[in-house]
């Protein structure tokens, strides 16, 4: 049994960042903790949120204990790779067994496959291994910032992370059983489940064309280490470009299907209105007349060098830094405005570590008069998509990519 040491006081919670000289107020003292969380988040969240430490994790922003939903503090996004122990945690259901690599089995088959097999962890690791650096972002990242609010896990900015994933190709595993011509979807299930029998198990499907892409993996390593338990040990699906809902953790069953999978988590959840978002990558076997499954991430960016309300000196150089990402087309440009959107300048992009990865950006400017300075960042990807200035409303609170702004106090 793993025990958790909850951090109810904040000393040391942000220890890694003390001395960085960058103002990130600490969390955990309720509303008195200051502007660490966006004031746009629901009041009930801001009043009760704490930093809490899951086994194997650093203190993260606890949104719910059970099932565990923990968000990564923004400070960890100053690098393009997110550390495993700071990587966000997201579960839908509360029965989360601790599967050992030894007892783990992966069943592969389904009515869309020619045969069926069962793979052990060793079998999986013996297959040709591939790596991809990719962002795993929850569909509902920034849901808590929706106005008006929508019900759900009220994420701020940190329901995401970027890691170097290593594993076998899903395509190679499917080749072991062979796909029938009629196969249209691949259905994924993990070891976690519900407490009440009638609660629909968390099962997802993906289109065959996406399943057999070279970058779609059954990953068993994350940043050179075994997957943390809360990120899907011993193996999970990695589906670069698409939102986290399809990245099945603790994956135990992969079935090829000749019909669209109609379970609750496909049919009723993770849906977006048709025609509202500029998406290229589509999952048409699941379309209805009015909505479609969420697929690729929309282009987005985040300022990580300064928290909202941070103090800077008048007449001094300020280095604005952050990250940008999209659904895999790659970042073409990030523009930064030091004056609330009146003037925009092109930021310097950091190293390109892959089209599915976070891309670092930097922009230096000299502050002028004392007072408030609103700094904004706007990313554009290589197919010309940019972030929105206004929220694209949708019932479940997905795809929030409104231009991020932080207010600096120039003194």
């Amino acid at each position: 049994m793993i025990t958790r040491r909850a951090l109810l006081e904040t000393a040391g919670a942000s220890a890694a960042f003390i001395g960085s000289g960058l103002a990130f107020p600490r969390l955990g003292e309720g509303a008195a903790a200051g502007p660490a969380l966006s004031p746009a988040l629901p009041e009930g969240l801001r009043e009760n949120v704490v930093l809490d430490t899951l086994p194997g994790k650093k203190p993260l922003i606890k949104l719910s204990y059970r099932p565990p939903n923990y968000e990564t503090p923004v400070e960890y996004f100053r690098t393009a790779i997110t550390p495993n122990d700071a990587f966000f945690v997201r579960y839908h259901l509360s029965d989360i067994p601790e599967v050992t690599a030894k007892e783990w089995k992966l069943a592969v088959g389904g009515d869309g496959a020619d045969g069926q097999i069962e793979l052990s962890f060793d079998d999986l690791k013996k297959m040709p291994a591939f790596e991809v650096v990719a962002v795993n972002q929850c569909s509902g990242n920034r849901r808590g910032l929706f106005q008006p609010h929508v019900v759900g896990v009220e994420w701020g900015y940190g329901a995401m992370g970027c890691a170097r994933w290593k594993g076998a190709r899903l395509k190679d595993v499917l080749d072991k059983v062979g796909l029938k011509k009629e196969a249209i979807e691949i259905v994924l299930d993990g070891a976690d489940g519900a407490i009440v029998d009638k609660t629909p198990d968390f099962v997802k499907s993906i289109p065959v064309w996406k399943a057999i892409e070279e970058t779609t993996l059954i990953a068993y390593e994350m940043n050179g280490q075994p997957l943390p338990h809360f990120n899907g040990f011993p193996a999970r699906i990695v589906l670069p470009g698409w939102t986290g809902t399809y990245w099945m953790k603790h994956v135990t069953s992969i079935k090829a299907a000749i019909k669209p999978y109609d379970g609750f988590w496909m049919k009723s959840a993770y849906r977006i209105p048709l025609g509202k978002f500029p998406l290229v990558s589509r999952f048409t076997s699941q379309d209805t007349d009015t909505n479609t499954p969420i697929t690729e991430m929309v282009v987005n960016s985040l300022i990580t060098s300064h928290a909202d309300g941070a103090s800077v000196k008048a007449g001094a150089k300020v280095s604005i830094g952050g990250i940008a990402w999209d659904g895999g087309y790659g970042i073409r440009e990030v523009e930064v405005s030091p004056d609330g959107g009146k003037n925009w300048s092109t930021a310097t992009l950091g190293q390109d570590i892959g089209r599915y990865a976070f891309r670092i950006f930097n922009f230096d400017f000299t502050t002028k008069a004392r007072g408030k300075s609103v700094v904004m960042a706007r990313a554009t990807n290589k197919i010309g998509q940019s972030q929105t200035t206004e929220l694209t409303l949708n019932p479940a609170g997905y795809h929030h990519n409104v231009i991020h702004a932080v207010t600096l106090n120039v003194a």
Partner: protein, 92 residues
């Protein structure tokens, strides 16, 4: 049977999970039903973070969602008590 076992645990010992910190909701009529039923499947911070913005219709939809698609075995009478509690203490 699993539900019964967990519900029993919820009655005798909160929180349900050994490594979970107790979440204290606002005192009020119906809190006992909320604690017994809602905490079977999820910690009660779900209610806190989704507040106080839901109006009466939104809270009603949530309670119905838990009983309908999510299959929570809650009687009509208890569901009514839970809804009143949520509207009164965590609604807008």
């Amino acid at each position: 049977m699993r539900y019964l076992a967990v519900a029993f645990l919820a009655l005798i010992a909160a929180p349900v999970a050994a490594d979970e910190q107790p979440v204290k909701l606002k005192p009020g009529s119906g809190l006992d039903k909320v604690e017994i039923h809602c905490s079977v499947c999820h910690s009660l911070d779900y209610i806190q973070m989704n507040s106080p913005f839901p109006n009466a219709a939104l809270w009603e939809a949530e309670v119905k969602k838990m009983i309908g698609p999510f299959g929570a075995p809650i009687s009509d009478a208890d569901a009514k008590v839970i809804l009143e509690y949520l509207k009164t203490n965590y609604g807008s």
